[in-house]
């Protein structure tokens, strides 16, 4: 009997789970090879950056083949590793997204040469490890995996922020990040212990059902002590996620960490850790939403809307006075987290309204918009950080004033920066505009259900206008001011020029090439659909 159970477990793991876990396994394998190559002094023969690039490209192919299989079966959703993780189009979308982003980041680090040959294996081990953590976050189906994913993504990030060992600013940034990060993780874990204990399960697909049982046992709503404990737990978990998303009031680490870390690491953290945390937030929110928790969850949705308003307003206002480009981009990252949170807020308000059944299409559109936004955000934010990193290699500074006159001296770099920044503002025909439009459209629809969503929309619109000012200030310095005569010229090799042009081209194409944009919209919509269908079938 017992041996039969073990045999079944092994069979299921080998036949299904490991296949679903392919992309992560390739990355794990790459880490092992990286470390062994260093151990046996093969790193001259097999440089760390080549190994990392090869590993991440393989992960992209693995994720791509999964995408094709999963897409062929609409509504496919299956748990694996004994229900700890879930495989649906949503998690595969994020897996592909993160693997693709990893390839682009590794390519950037190769071009800008930030980890030197000596340190390359260490740096890429951390980078790949953090990416695996984020992939786990996107596929988590258990509160334990939620915590492990967050920790696996955070712990290597702390080390990457402090990677420039001798620099005072880098060590300070890492210390601040690790202190805040460890605290937030601890608080989140306490929340997890309360949720798992009171509801008696860690399985996220059972949470909504268990909340119903707990609420039926006593007085429904906030009157019941057990329900209150669960609400407290959910709020503590949201603290941890808000920290990863750098939402106000948990954003302190973000500008400091980005300024102290190298621009490559900043670009990685701003996109990848945000994507992983949003995937987790969506999964967590969907798993808690059920008929008996509707009033509670729509209140959470409105609460998230308020946080979104404060976050984007704060991010945009704080970005005005910045003279350091990385710090400005960090505040812009905070503001964009606010925009993206609008989608989650609208989703929660719609899904937990009495008319949820009729609104299926619109609920899908919220998450579809979020996924589209993340994809565009990948290219525009990485593009901006890549330009910062490449310019730093020539001028040794990241001050905005040092960009004076770049438009004339190096048009390719300056035009790529123009594309990225204008897309970050959200001006057509760039990708950022359509992404923003999709999210704002969803929030507008949610406005019919609660007036605060109209307010959220208005604040979002105003913030878009505000943000124009500080992005344009950078562009003004680049294109209108004269380059000082004594400054070092910036002449990029053709490979680096090709890299930034590629990113700039994608930012533009995702806005104005219907084929690419429609394909991505469709994929994002299907991925969004899968996360809801999973929640319905398991109920």
């Amino acid at each position: 009997m017992f041996s039969q159970l073990i045999q079944n477990l092994i069979d299921h793991t080998v036949e299904t789970s490991l296949g679903y876990f392919q992309a992560e396994l390739w990355l794990c394998g790459t880490i092992v090879v990286l470390l062994l190559a260093r151990l046996f002094s093969l790193d001259r023969l097999l440089p760390g950056n080549v190994l990392a690039l090869a590993g991440s490209v393989t992960a992209v192919f693995a994720a791509w083949s999964q995408l094709e299989t999963v897409q062929a079966e609409p509504g496919f959703s299956e748990t694996f590793f004994t229900g700890l993780m879930i495989q649906d189009l949503f998690s595969v979308y994020f897996r592909l997204f993160l693997a693709l982003f990893l390839v682009l980041t590794v390519a950037l680090t190769i071009l800008s040469g930030i980890p030197d040959g000596e340190d390359a294996p260490d740096f890429y081990t951390l980078l790949l490890g953090a990416t695996i953590g984020m992939m786990i976050m996107a596929g988590a189906n258990n509160l334990l995996m939620l915590f492990i994913g967050v920790e696996m993504a955070s712990v290597p990030s702390y080390a990457m922020v402090g990677f420039l060992k001798g620099r005072r600013t880098s060590s300070e940034a890492a210390l601040k990040y690790v202190v805040y990060g460890a605290g937030a993780a601890g608080v989140m874990l306490y929340g997890i212990s309360l949720i798992a204990g009171v509801l008696g399960t860690g399985d996220m697909s059972l949470l909504a059902d268990r909340i119903r049982i707990v609420a039926e046992g006593g007085v429904a709503g906030l009157g019941d002590a057990e329900v209150r404990l669960v609400v407290l737990g959910v709020m503590l978990v949201l603290v941890g996620l808000a920290f990863k998303l750098s939402l106000v009031p948990f954003h302190f680490w973000c500008p400091d960490a980005f300024e102290g870390a190298s621009a490559e690491v900043g670009g990685f953290l701003s996109v990848a850790s945000k994507a992983g945390a949003f995937a987790l937030l969506v999964r967590f929110a969907v798993s808690l939403s059920g008929p008996s928790s509707a009033a509670l969850m729509s209140a959470f949705g409105i609460g998230l809307g308020v946080i979104a308003m404060v976050t984007m307003t704060f991010g945009n206002l704080a970005a005005y006075g910045q003279s350091n480009m990385k710090r400005l981009l960090a505040y812009s990252t905070i503001a964009h987290a606010g925009y993206m949170l609008m989608a989650v807020s609208a989703m929660l308000v719609m899904q937990n309204s009495p008319q949820a059944g009729a609104l299926g299409q619109e609920i899908n559109a919220c998450i579809g918009g979020l996924l589209y936004y993340l994809a565009v955000y990948l290219f525009m934010n990485l593009g901006a950080f890549a330009v910062v990193a490449l310019i730093r290699n020539y001028t040794f500074t990241e001050e905005i004033s040092s960009y004076a006159g770049l438009g004339r001296q190096n048009p390719v770099l300056a035009v790529c920066m123009l594309f990225c920044l204008v897309s970050l503002v959200g001006i057509p025909p760039f990708g950022g505009f359509f992404a923003k439009l999709m999210i704002f459209g969803s929030v507008y629809k949610a406005g019919d259900l609660h007036w605060s969503m109209y307010l959220l929309l208005a604040v979002g619109g105003l913030n878009t206008v505000f943000s124009l000012v500080y992005y344009l200030r950078v562009l003004k310095v680049m294109f209108i001011e004269e380059r000082p005569a004594d400054s070092r010229p910036i002449r990029l090799p053709s490979l680096e020029r090709a890299y930034v042009s590629l990113l700039g081209a994608f930012v533009l194409l995702l806005g104005c090439a219907p084929l690419l944009a429609d394909g991505l919209t469709l994929l994002a919509g299907e991925a969004a659909n899968s996360v809801f269908s999973a929640a319905v079938t398991s109920r």
């Binding site: 509160l143 334990l144 915590f147 492990i148 920790e151 712990v155 702390y158 080390a159 402090g162 060992k165 001798g166 620099r167 005072r168 600013t169 060590s171 300070e172 940034a173 890492a174 210390l175 601040k176 690790v178 202190v179 460890a182 605290g183 993780a185 601890g186 608080v187 874990l189 306490y190 997890i192 212990s193 309360l194 798992a196 204990g197 009171v198 008696g200 399960t201 860690g202 500008p255 400091d256 300024e259 102290g260 006075g321 910045q322 350091n324 710090r327």
Partner: protein, 102 residues
């Protein structure tokens, strides 16, 4: 006589509160990290107690095993970062970490 669940939860809550207060008030980076450990162990006490008294069952104990390992990993990294900070600043007072602001 068997102690009740609420007794264990009370210990967990006290550990959690002590940890949060410690994180918020300590100026020494090592002290802050000790606060983090208290918070994690508060959660551990909760999980193990819940695994004894509720349907969470053995899952709770497995959770706490994972958490012990993760806490060790995090502490090792945090101490390395604190050491690096000391090498650059000759102090581990978190208030002295003030060159990045704005």
């Amino acid at each position: 006589m068997q102690p009740s669940l609420s007794g264990y939860l009370l210990i967990g809550a006290v550990l959690f509160t002590c940890g949060v207060v410690c994180m918020a008030t300590r100026r020494n980076a090592i002290g802050v990290l000790m606060g983090v450990e208290l918070v994690l162990n508060g959660a551990n006490v909760n999980l193990v107690a819940f695994s004894r008294y509720t349907t969470l069952g053995i899952d709770g104990q497995i959770y706490s095993l994972f958490i012990i390992v993760l806490a060790a990993a995090e502490a090792a990294l945090a101490l390395a970062i604190a050491l690096n900070f000391y090498n650059n600043h000759l102090t581990i007072d978190v208030d002295k970490a003030s060159s990045l602001k704005g």
